[in-house]
């Protein structure tokens, strides 16, 4: 057994954000706060790259394996780019007086606390610690969603909080059940909560107990993933909070919750006598996809539009992992990455659009191609990518998923394609409305940082054209583990 303290980079990706959170909470100056927020997120990302070359290690508390490394790198990377975006976004919010310096202090401290909690969840081997990480990350985003303190924001935060707490409570009950299932084979104490030990010994567990535990875990973490019908908190939370938070919610937190679910699915997969979880996940995924695709047509608010698009894409991933097998799992993993990058890039663009137009109503956002060409290009590229058009990476993963699901589940594949087309129609329709037509509303200049947005889009484009060989081999290895 190795102590977690042996793993220096692992140590660092948890400590840097934790220390930064404390520091940001005590520092009164928001200017320094903005700088520290970026300066802490940067090194966290840099250190996470060290994990790539470092050794895979495990302890009873933390684990580093192929599956979580790529998500840690993705999370810290988007955490870093969002911090840069947030710096320019926040400047505008201060000018318009929507946020005061006192609230910014909370905002920055919570942002780092959330990054830390997500890293804890991703690196945890102890499933209790995994639960703690997801819970703390949720609580810190709840606070940030309510930070504008408008009636809508308070309502969104309240709803998010209630539904999130219920979800997390059910997940905890599931954790206790899975411990009870493991305890018979593994004995009492810490090893019985270690994920890798559980997975190795899962065939000795009582299959009925495992199945019951998974149902609770699925509903619990599924609420966090935003799967329909547990999604009610998601659109509100995305539309009423600050846009950087929408970006990390969609790009990161949903992923972390799905990651937690997949960890448990891997335990289930190691015991063949359990419930067929793939079927449930396929069903939930398709319901989310089709439901969200139709809901896209009825949106009047730009951030709600993309929030529903996130539900749609989480549905696609859940479906992919539900089908299972090397190809579909590969598609799911790739889609997770591509969706995170694209959706956060879209929210970067949307944040500036909403600021410059001073509204989130779609009806008041028109003619962007004339008034703000750079933003329009970014938004257009993002929406084209998320709608699943080539040559972007989202197309690659969706194509792989469709082609791998046709031979195995032809009818479900038809529904999948149907949902994708419906969503595609809605997004393209909304996009052309926003870009073209007579410009409405203010056409002032925007002080935006375009770099994070275009960096994300460039990665998505590059991945769509050519996936480097090591990345492919990596995803294949993880996909094989997922079963």
């Amino acid at each position: 057994m190795t102590l977690p303290f042996d793993v220096a980079p692992l140590h660092a990706i948890l400590l840097i954000p934790a220390l930064a959170a404390v520091l940001l909470a005590v520092l009164p100056s928001y200017r320094i706060g903005v700088a520290i927020n970026v300066l802490a997120a940067g090194p966290t990302f840099a250190v996470s790259l060290l994990l790539l070359v470092g050794e895979r290690e495990r302890g009873d508390i933390f684990i580093i394996d192929d599956f979580n490394i790529y998500l840690i790198v993705l999370t810290t990377f988007i955490g870093f780019t969002t911090a840069i975006f947030s710096a320019s976004y926040i400047g505008h919010e201060l000018e318009t007086g929507r946020l005061t310096p006192t609230f910014l202090r909370f905002y920055h401290a919570l942002y780092q606390a959330m990054l830390c909690a997500m890293n804890v969840a991703l690196t945890a081997n102890n499933i209790g610690l995994l639960w703690v990480g997801v819970e703390v990350a949720t609580l810190s985003t709840v606070m940030m969603v309510g930070i504008y303190r408008t009636p809508e924001a308070v309502e969104a935060a309240w709803k998010y909080f209630i539904l999130g707490s219920v979800g997390i409570a059910l997940a905890f009950f599931g954790t206790i059940l899975i411990y009870l299932a493991a305890q018979g084979a593994l004995g009492e104490g810490a090893p019985a909560l270690a994920w890798d030990v559980m997975r190795q010994n899962a065939s000795k567990f009582d299959p009925n107990q495992l199945s019951l535990a998974f149902v609770f875990l699925l509903v619990g973490y599924g609420t966090k993933v935003g799967l329909a019908p547990f999604h009610a908190w998601l659109p509100d939370a995305h539309s009423e909070g600050p846009t950087p938070i929408s970006a990390v919610l969609s790009g990161l937190l949903l992923n972390v919750a799905l990651y937690a679910l997949l960890r448990f699915k891997m335990i289930m997969a190691a015991n063949p006598k359990t419930l067929d979880v793939g079927l449930i996940m396929m069903a939930l995924g398709l319901i989310s996809l089709v439901f969200a695709a139709f809901m896209l047509y009825r949106r009047r608010d730009i951030k709600r539009l993309f929030a529903y698009s996130s539900i749609e894409h989480m549905g696609i991933m859940t479906f992919a992992f539900g089908i299972g097998g090397p190809l579909a799992n590969f598609a799911g993993l790739l889609h997770m990455t591509m969706h995170s990058l694209t959706k956060s890039a879209i929210f970067f663009a949307v944040g500036h659009v909403a600021q410059v137009k001073d509204t989130q109503r779609l009806a008041d956002i028109k003619g962007l191609s004339v008034t703000h060409p750079t933003l329009a290009v970014g938004l257009a590229l993002g929406v084209v990518a998320i709608a699943g058009l080539p040559p972007f990476g989202v197309f690659t993963s969706e194509f792989m998923l469709v082609s791998s699901s046709f031979p195995r589940q032809p009818w479900l594949a038809v529904i999948l394609v149907f949902g994708l087309i419906v969503a595609f129609g809605a997004l393209v329709w909304r996009l052309q409305e926003m870009l073209f037509g007579e410009p409405v509303g203010p056409a002032g200049r925007v002080k935006a940082s375009y770099i994070p947005m275009f960096v994300h889009l460039a990665i998505v484009l590059a991945a769509g054209i050519w996936l480097p060989e090591p990345v492919v081999r990596w995803f294949q290895a993880v996909a094989a583990q997922l079963g």
Partner: protein, 223 residues
């Protein structure tokens, strides 16, 4: 394990379940808080008893946390908030007491049906504790659904957490990390809740979350 140990554990867990039912139909806010405090005290006794019969002294820490934080500190603070907000009158309920109790009975039956068949090899005590705990959790959920008042929703949530701790303490040898984190997260949860109650009060002059419905983003969408 002696018969005495078994019976007392049952009695305490059963007591928590009864108090969950009392919470369901309680229609005055101060009484709700008192019943919740009582449930937390029974929880701490139950956890302490588990510490004794499982020979697991670390559970005593959990028992003390339950007693001090949930039995004393939080109810006192909530009493103060309620008094400051001036809302110690009726609680509106979506369902009447009768249907709510019937739904509650159904949930208890459901949890027994769910847990008993799968819990054969975890030991009788753990299995029945688990059934009691699941019933308390589901009743807490039911309470959160039937209440419209922010403070009683908080109580519903905390009663649900009581059920979680009961389940965790019944699971033999579950590491302390988890229980401690639960207690800790309840603190955070309460903190967040408290902040919200104040904001809601500040903004709407009511803690009836029915008032929040007016501000649903959906409705604003359709303008």
């Amino acid at each position: 394990m002696g018969k005495m140990a078994f019976d007392l554990a049952h009695l305490l867990a059963g007591g928590m379940l009864v108090l969950s039912f009392v919470l369901l139909y309680q229609d005055r806010i101060t009484a709700t808080l008192n019943v919740f405090a009582l449930q937390a005290i029974v929880l701490s006794l139950s956890v302490a008893w588990q510490a004794l019969i499982q020979d697991a002294p670390h559970l005593l820490v959990t028992a003390v946390i339950a007693l001090v934080v949930k039995g004393i500190v939080i109810p006192t603070a909530l009493h103060r908030i309620v008094r400051r907000l001036g809302i110690h009158r009726e609680i509106e309920e979506v369902l009447g007491a009768g249907p709510t109790m019937l739904a509650g009975l159904g949930l208890v039956a459901l949890s027994i049906l769910l847990v008993f068949p799968v819990g054969e090899n975890v030991g009788v005590l753990a299995r029945e504790d688990l059934a009691f705990a699941l019933a308390v959790i589901l009743l807490g959920l039911l309470m959160m659904i039937t209440r419209r008042n922010a403070v009683t929703q908080i109580v519903g949530f905390m009663s649900l957490e009581n059920g979680l701790i009961l389940a965790a303490s019944g699971a033999k040898g579950m590491p302390l990390v988890v229980e401690f984190s639960v207690a800790f997260s309840i603190l955070i949860a309460f903190f967040v809740f408290g902040v919200f109650v104040f904001r809601i009060r500040e903004r709407f002059d009511t803690v009836d979350i029915g008032a929040l419905d007016r501000f649903r983003g959906e409705r604003r969408d359709r303008q």
